[in-house]
């Protein structure tokens, strides 16, 4: 009975004890920086992807839509009577999207810009279903959360101008927990599913992903002659991902775990060429657990300093063998 009560109490505490709202500020800033960076990288190819006569034309992508999607062509039909060309509209849309990202970054009327950024991203996802991959999915999830979560509480113009209260509330704590749990679930599933494949245990998946043209960045065929390297890397990946939900909740251990996750995603960027995917995953992990890691590091430093001081300043007890 005591155990049950203890678990219940811990559970309630987890969801209700005020959590550091800077986590939400960090989430907003990192993800809006990401949005802006991705948009600027996309700019030179924007019309080729989203234009009426792009790689996959509007006519075709619209045929893939369901009634709940919001295609670029539908929006263009609203402004076409003004005489605006489809290309002008596609670029106007781009700058509205970038503007919304900037509004989010500054935290100026945060909620409004979060809604606009989310809707723009919804249109992009509806217009480009064939060109989407993990990076867009995680950005979409993040923007959805930014619409609902109080992400303008700190490090924002809303807070500075008195439109947002920086005190932790039940909703800010709940938001932080949802973000953390969602990431833990994603990583657990990523790791545990890999464990079901012999190819992952042998390191073959990692090897093949580095040599196939979709992801190949360097000639890594030599790894086939040193199979222990991809094998160890695969095991590390599976351990880091599967036990992320434990590693990130154990004080101090999470410092190493976060470093491991950053290393893992840097590796994905460097060796598989998925730089933006690696970056968004780093940003999400840092957003969700960065403040906790920062506090661990600070406590560590303070404790170390005190330990050093006690070593040098306190009178030492004389020891004798006799």
């Amino acid at each position: 009975m005591d155990l049950l009560n203890n678990v219940r109490q811990r559970f309630n505490e987890f969801f209700t004890r005020p959590a550091d709202v800077r986590t939400l500020g960090l989430f907003r800033i990192l993800l809006s920086v990401f949005l802006l960076f991705q948009a600027l990288l996309w700019l030179p190819d924007w019309a080729n992807f989203l234009g009426r006569e792009g790689w996959v034309q509007w006519e075709l992508t619209r045929a893939l839509n369901q009634f709940w999607h919001l295609h670029m062509e539908v929006l263009y039909a609203w402004v076409e009577p003004t005489g605006m060309t489809d290309i002008q509209f596609v670029y106007l849309f781009f700058w509205v999207y970038v503007g919304a990202g900037l509004g989010l970054l500054l935290g100026w009327y945060t909620r409004i810009w979060a809604v606009i950024a989310y809707l723009c991203h919804y249109v992009i996802m509806s217009t480009l279903p064939t060109f989407m991959y993990g990076v867009d999915i995680f950005l979409h999830i993040s923007l959805f959360y930014m619409v609902l979560m109080p992400v303008g509480k700190v490090w924002s113009l809303d807070a500075r101008q008195g439109r947002a209260n920086s005190e932790p509330t039940w909703s800010s704590t709940l938001s932080i927990r949802v973000l953390q749990i969602h990431l833990c679930l994603v990583y657990f599933s990523a790791g545990y599913e890999k464990m079901a494949y012999t190819n992952w245990w042998e390191g073959n998946v990692l090897y093949r992903s580095m040599v196939q043209p979709d992801f190949r960045q360097f000639d890594m065929r030599w790894l086939a002659y040193v199979p222990v390297i991809p094998m160890v890397m695969s095991w590390l990946t599976m351990i880091l991902e599967t036990f992320y939900f434990i590693g990130m909740y154990v004080p101090r251990l999470r410092v190493y775990w976060l470093a491991g996750m950053i290393g893992l995603h840097l590796g994905i960027g460097l060796f598989l060429g998925l730089y933006l995917f690696g970056l968004i995953m780093i940003f999400l992990t840092v957003s969700a657990f960065g403040m906790a890691v920062y506090k661990d590091l600070r406590h560590w430093r303070i404790n170390t300093r005190y330990a050093d001081e006690s070593f040098s300043l306190l009178p030492q007890k004389k020891r004798s063998l006799g």
Binding site: V56, A63, Y133, G134, L174, H182, L185, F188, P227
Partner: protein
């Protein structure tokens, strides 16, 4: 009341994410009556999205080859296997074609339509060319053991179509 509603909706959201991510829902749910509501929810917040995480497709890829010709006998051969980067300006734009290749190879009607769409794009890029052969090749890459035995990459053309302006 409001607080309870928010906690309730959050619990529902997290339960759905857990059930979908951990494959606890029967596969039939994604094809039967629940297909449309789950797809709609997915488009909103991806809470019903089944992540793949580099598991099933690794070691196989689809490469696109386009051969443009004209009546004067000029030929331009473009292949994603030989560093053809779809006229993209950076690696991130090029990465998007991984999804495109996987998507377009899935469905026979979509493969036709996307081949037509991409061929139109390429003919506009090369106005002096008037004929294009669009080909999709399935590739299987050797595992480490096979690579040590110098096994070759297995390549097979599974789709080919030619469009001509004359």
């Amino acid at each position: 009341m409001y607080k309870k509603l928010v906690y309730g909706l959050t619990a529902l959201h997290l339960c759905l994410v857990t059930a979908v991510i951990l494959r606890m829902l029967p596969l039939g749910m994604f094809n039967g009556k629940m297909e449309a509501p789950l797809a709609c929810l997915t488009s909103i917040n991806y809470s019903a999205w089944r992540f793949a995480f580099f598991t099933p497709d690794i070691g196989k890829s689809t490469e696109i080859e386009a051969i443009l010709t004209n009546r004067s006998g000029d030929t331009i051969r473009l292949s994603t296997n030989d560093d053809f980067r779809f006229f993209t300006h950076n690696l991130e734009s090029e990465n998007r074609f991984y999804g495109y290749k996987v998507h377009s190879a899935k469905d026979s009607m979509f493969i036709d339509l996307s081949a037509r769409s991409a061929s139109t794009f390429l003919l506009n890029e090369y106005p002096t060319m008037d004929r294009i052969t669009y080909r999709m090749n399935g590739m299987i890459y050797p595992e480490m053991r096979e690579q040590r035995r110098d096994s070759a990459i297995i390549e097979d053309t599974f789709y080919e179509i030619t469009f001509s302006l004359y």
